[in-house]
């Protein structure tokens, strides 16, 4: 319980300001990258017409995610944004599942990870919107339906970033605190693993899916 909120940080003084790196989170993110690269390599080596088991799993995952993207965007755009959706979903899924392994913790437990992914989704969506509609039509959209709604529309767009990141952060962080508190109180072998499975696997999967779907939906709202 005393470890609650303790973060290992690396402070690098650079020209008057300090650059702060959270070492735990960076290490966990690299572990997720490593697992993803290994899975990708295993799924595509010696890929032939007769699929091997790993290749089958890989094709199934990509197929499902591309299907989801096509549902929201049209077919041509789904080709552009399909890899983004697959990468986002797999990264978030493995990040949320990493907490099951003892001594490892989820990189999404630190606010920086969901917030940066949320800002990335926001920038991509608005860049796509400007590219499709042109800057004038894009700026005009903020003044609908009445002119003085403009600051509120801008706040609404900012609110989308806040809600999408805080939802993921709150669910994962809240789940890990709950597991910590309950393990501190009960000393049993039954409840904490069950809770770990619920919050880590179940809630983690749903939140990864919701984050990805919301990003796709924001992109599709901007380009249509």
């Amino acid at each position: 319980m005393e470890d609650l909120g303790r973060v290992y940080q690396l402070l690098i003084p650079v020209g008057g300001h300090t650059v702060v790196l959270n070492l735990n989170v960076i290490l966990m993110t690299w572990i997720v990258f490593g697992i993803l690269l290994i899975l990708g390599y295993l799924a595509t080596r010696k890929s032939g017409f007769m699929p091997r088991p790993m290749q089958l799993v890989g094709e199934m995952i990509v197929d499902q995610l591309y299907g989801l993207t096509e549902d929201a965007l049209d077919k041509r755009r789904a080709e552009t944004y399909g890899p983004l959706v697959c990468a986002l979903f797999l990264f978030l899924l493995l990040s949320n599942w990493l907490g099951i392994i003892p001594h490892l913790e989820e990189p999404t437990k630190d606010l920086n990870t969901p917030l940066s992914l949320g800002i990335m989704g926001f920038v991509i969506a608005h860049y796509a919107g400007i590219k499709t509609k042109g800057f004038k039509a894009y700026a005009k959209e903020y003044c609908e339906p009445m002119f003085f709604m403009m600051p509120l529309n801008v706040i609404g767009e900012m609110a989308k970033i806040v809600s999408i990141s805080f939802r993921l952060f709150g669910n994962i962080m809240g789940g890990s605190i709950i597991i910590l508190v309950v393990s501190h109180l009960t000393y049993s072998l039954i409840l904490p693993p069950f809770l770990n499975a619920f919050f880590g696997l179940f809630v983690g999967t749903i939140q990864a899916f919701v984050f990805t779907m919301l990003t796709v939906v924001y992109i599709s709202v901007q380009v249509k």
């Binding site: 609908e144 339906p145 709604m149 509120l152 709202v221 249509k224």
Partner: protein, 82 residues
């Protein structure tokens, strides 16, 4: 704990701001949810009109938001101006 005039006024202002935004968020939340629910039903009945339905829903939600905006404005006024 000595309670003086200016202090109790500020305390009341903060409490008022919290109540204003807090209670003021209830109505628009429920109302906009009803709009979106009926919009989903409308898409279920007539999926071809998705664009028109989305626009109508967003405009309806933006107008229903107005009392929430009033609460936000009053809350910010109570916090920073009064």
């Amino acid at each position: 704990m000595a309670i003086e005039g200016a202090d109790i006024i500020k305390a009341a202002a903060f409490l008022g701001a919290g109540l204003s935004m807090g209670l003021g968020a209830i109505g628009p939340g429920v109302g906009e949810g009803m709009v979106a629910a009926k919009a989903c039903e409308a898409i279920g009945k007539n999926p071809k009109e998705a664009g028109l339905l989305t626009r109508t829903m967003l405009v309806g939600q933006a107008v229903s938001e107005s009392t929430g905006i009033y609460s936000l404005v009053i809350a910010l006024l109570l916090l920073f101006v009064v």
